[in-house]
Symmetry: C2
Subunit: 253 residues, 2 copies
């Protein structure tokens, strides 16, 4: 079975010019030519083109795609696995953007304006060629994340108002505790942390102590979260983080 450029182009949803280009740069070359010089693509070439198109869709520069596919140490299944992971990350990222736009709409309709950080939050980690495991570790807890997005998307304006008010109130009480010198590992602070955990479980996603501890680490590791707390009171990010960790220790131990 073999295909001409035009056939393959139609099949793959690209233009003939694109295939010419890929031939020229050596990315996808027809495994044969007819006597009259026509390109003749075989099954292997289809394989290759498909891989290329997935990587391209994911935003990889063509040269990098070439080095990836020409790596003799990488078996085909490894590519598929990586593509799968990247695609799933993309689904999450796009869902986060959906949530951001929804939030923006809510805000407009309520006459509230979001902070600049919130508004660009979703663009922050936009690095298409980031194929190492960083994102996976950070947002590895993907089920919780999407669950949260689903729930918040389903909230009414009143729900949303209530939830944010609840959160803001708790943050103020955290800040007050910090201000009056209550240690982060005191029972008082841990109680606030526990309340925090339950708020999350109720309003966003199921949040057992271990997950909560992970969140706590993120408050100091991820600058976006740090910034959020530091805007309320200096040192609050670390304070909340410590309280959450202490509480998680108390809960699980």
């Amino acid at each position: 079975m073999s295909w001409t450029v035009g056939e393959l182009a139609r099949l793959a949803g690209v233009t003939v010019r694109t295939l010419h280009h890929y031939d020229r740069i050596g990315l996808v070359q027809p495994s044969d030519r007819t006597a009259s010089g026509y390109r003749s693509y075989g099954v292997r070439d289809l394989d290759r083109l498909q891989q290329v198109l997935v990587y391209r869709e994911l935003g990889f520069p063509l040269e990098e795609v070439a080095t990836l596919l020409d790596d003799p140490d990488a078996d085909p299944v490894a590519h598929l696995r990586r593509q799968l992971r990247l695609l799933r990350e993309r689904v999450e990222r796009t869902r986060a953007m959906v949530a951001a736009v929804e939030k923006e709409m809510e805000a407009r309709q309520m006459g509230i304006s979001l902070t600049p950080e919130e508004r660009f939050e979703v663009f922050g980690s936009h690095d298409p060629a980031r194929y190492d495991a960083e994102a996976e570790e950070r947002w590895g807890d993907t089920e919780a994340w999407s669950q949260s997005r689903r729930r918040t998307a389903a909230m009414s304006k009143e729900d949303w108002l209530r939830v944010t008010a609840e959160g803001a109130d708790l943050e103020r009480r955290f800040a007050a505790a910090l201000g009056s010198g209550v240690p982060a590992d005191s029972a008082t602070a841990m109680d606030l942390a526990e309340e925090h955990r339950q708020q999350i479980s109720r309003n966003f996603y199921d949040c057992p102590p271990e997950v909560h501890a992970g969140l706590g680490r993120m408050y100091v590791d991820d600058e976006r979260f740090t910034a959020h707390y530091e805007r309320i009171a200096p040192g609050l990010a670390r304070y909340v983080s410590s309280a959450v960790q202490a509480n998680a220790g108390r809960r699980s131990g």
Copy 2:
């Protein structure tokens, strides 16, 4: 509140050069300049940049973004609504790609090779700037679509084998009926169509007669499906389509 280029760049996750570029082409211009010529971006400019970035992410050329955003008839909420729709389409599209890669992996592990049409299926409708309602009409039945994807993704190898075998068998019987001159609106052909409908409902997604009729239309309207049936037997696409329609008429009338 105002920001310098560098600050805004960091905030929005783009480079300074990008902001320079957007200034030059008039896409996002700082609403002010300092005495020494420094760009000074205001809140309105952030608004604008955010909109631009969403549209850019969706694959719109910048010039088109400019005309969209400068259209005095389009209120901000309209933009948000459109962006929401496009983003959701994108989630579905990416999910379809995930499903395609999963399918490809299954196939490899089973030593089966997919048909070229199947392999490039997902790239077919890749037209990022297609913001009219075409895709919406065509795949408007999005719930069913994603439901199907979810189910097939959850299938075991045996399930999948069984399902495809079932489908292939039914297609062969359709082809046989066509070959022996059985009319598409005969009871025999309609029975096959009904079996087809129930197969879909059982294996993929809930498929009431109206949805099935829509599918039938697609078999002749959408060249990808047409090609699928024509590969089995010439005229089969139209034949199946007619039988499905006839059956839908019988069921609902």
